[in-house]
Symmetry: C3
Subunit: 162 residues, 3 copies
């Protein structure tokens, strides 16, 4: 192998490593955007996080398609929550990437303002299923399960094998 | 284009990608350091996160300059909070980098110890404006707004367009 | 220096930078995995995060060795907590890497389900000491201290100097 060939091999390896780091960073950023944009009521921005036909199973309701998810943000229930004062905290996820799909698992805390302060209204297990699209990673599926001791929530937090 | 020229182009592209990943990682680390160091009361370390003339608008008060921020950490109010038991939780931020400036948005939770346990005392929307300096990224401006339903807090969480 | 030699130097430098980013990402992922897998009760997966002889000082008890940590997850106390509904929230850590060892500091929140909702049961300062092993980064030592105002918790949050 010539010196230039050896360099080509090194650079190709490095490109692969960097691509994996980019995938992980991009997915972490998608997840980190959800909370702030949701509490901002910024439905157009929230919509960009999902594929066109994404499904968001929020436990209390299921939203099918990016438009339905944006409509949920603009809807009366969500608007009442954010105008009362809320933080949709989504914790830094564990991420497993397998080529063009990925799974991210984490916790969700809905903290709400009330008369005298704040209280933790809901705590959920969250699983994101993501896909690589022509314009980057997008959420194809999200499932929340209330962490009230039920088996589904625990199963969901396993994500994929380490 | 010769083989060596092609390699040069590849490496230059890779350097640019890696620089963006480094920016994002460095900013995430600045934000991740704030909570632990603040609860430790480690004012010298907290000071290193900011530019010399940084402004921290904490909603309840505004601190102008790195020295004023360090003095806040050493001050009676903050010392009473941390000696009573507190966690200044700053969530993993959404980060937008534009060359030498960046915006990071996230949630802040102040959880305090009381007689029988812990309670969520304050929940805020946080926006960091960061700049690249000769010694790395630093916080130039931070703004907190209480998430009690006010418009300012929601506007702040938008950060920059996706 | 020839063109090829210059490229070799550039690529070597890039490799070093990428290695540091990989270290940080790998450690962040170890920490992010702990909460979801612990709330899932997935003891086999939790075990993989630690060295064989890791020590986990959880403040209320000390677990010595990976097997003891897995047994804690399978034990009656932990099973009662997760079957009642819990979120072991571990915040995005501040990470300092020094060649083959690293220190990560963050907050831990144990949020538990009760009759009418959720409450923050425990808030701790967490310090992870990590080592690079033949199969990647692992936790060698973890220490939690309750954030009730005690000096130990504050000292622990300092991690290493910025």
């Amino acid at each position: 192998m010539t010196d230039v060939e050896a360099l080509h091999a090194l650079v190709a390896q490095l490109q692969e490593t960097v691509r994996r780091l980019q995938d992980q960073a991009a997915i972490a950023q998608l997840v980190a955007a959800y909370g702030p944009w949701t509490d901002a009521g910024w439905s157009e921005a929230v919509a960009t996080l999902w594929t066109e036909d994404a499904v968001y199973d929020a436990d209390v309701a299921v939203f099918s398609g990016r438009d339905a998810i944006a409509a949920m943000i603009d809807g009366d229930t969500h608007q009442a929550i954010i105008h009362g004062g809320s933080a949709h905290v989504v914790t830094a996820p564990h991420i497993s990437v397998d080529r063009d799909t990925a799974v991210a698992t984490c916790h969700g805390l809905l903290v709400r303002h009330d008369g005298d302060g704040f209280h933790v209204a809901r705590v959920t297990a969250i699983r994101f299923d993501l896909v690589r699209t022509g314009s980057g990673w997008r959420i194809a599926n999200r499932r929340n399960r209330l962490l009230d001791g039920n088996d589904d929530a625990r199963a969901l937090l396993r994500g994929v094998s380490p």
